[in-house]
Symmetry: C2
Subunit: 71 residues, 2 copies
Amino acid sequence: MLRNRVKELRARYSYTQSELGKRVDVTRQTIAFIEKGEFSPSITLALKLAQVLETKVDELFWLEGEEEDEK
Amino acid sequence: MLRNRVKELRARYSYTQSELGKRVDVTRQTIAFIEKGEFSPSITLALKLAQVLETKVDELFWLEGEEEDEK
DNA sequence: ACTAAATGTTAAGTATATATTACATTATGT
DNA sequence: ACATAATGTAATATATACTTAACATTTAGT
């Protein structure tokens, strides 16, 4: 399960979803999806987000709980 | 431009591409593509790789050079 | 030299990230 | 109360990550 702190850090900088999206070059819907945890962004986007939000990727995103694949 | 140290760290652990793939639950071709820098993996995969290779995502992957989108 | 394992690489398919458009709801400022 | 900005959310389309399968080349062990 992928978790993240994007919404929290975005609030800290008082960025709107649109503003943040513009800074990392994606649409506001993409930011919204990420904040809702609906998908796992590319690492390129994650790196840009960490850069803009002045943090480390490892502090912005992390894996939590168990994997559900029993493989 | 996305760069990474996967091949280097994989060598340090003497993992084969297949072994590493198995540990992070992708195929060896996916590992090969990443090592060649052919695409930008999901952050979920990047986190798993960092975990298995005992490093941080920010040390495994980084953005280099200028963005080519003039937008 | 032989064999098997590891890697390089390519093509075609599937899954999913991201864009675009659109509309509804909520917050903010006047 | 009104207008506008910000957010929630959903549908459809496109780009790209990732899989599967296959074959060729290189490497390591005997």
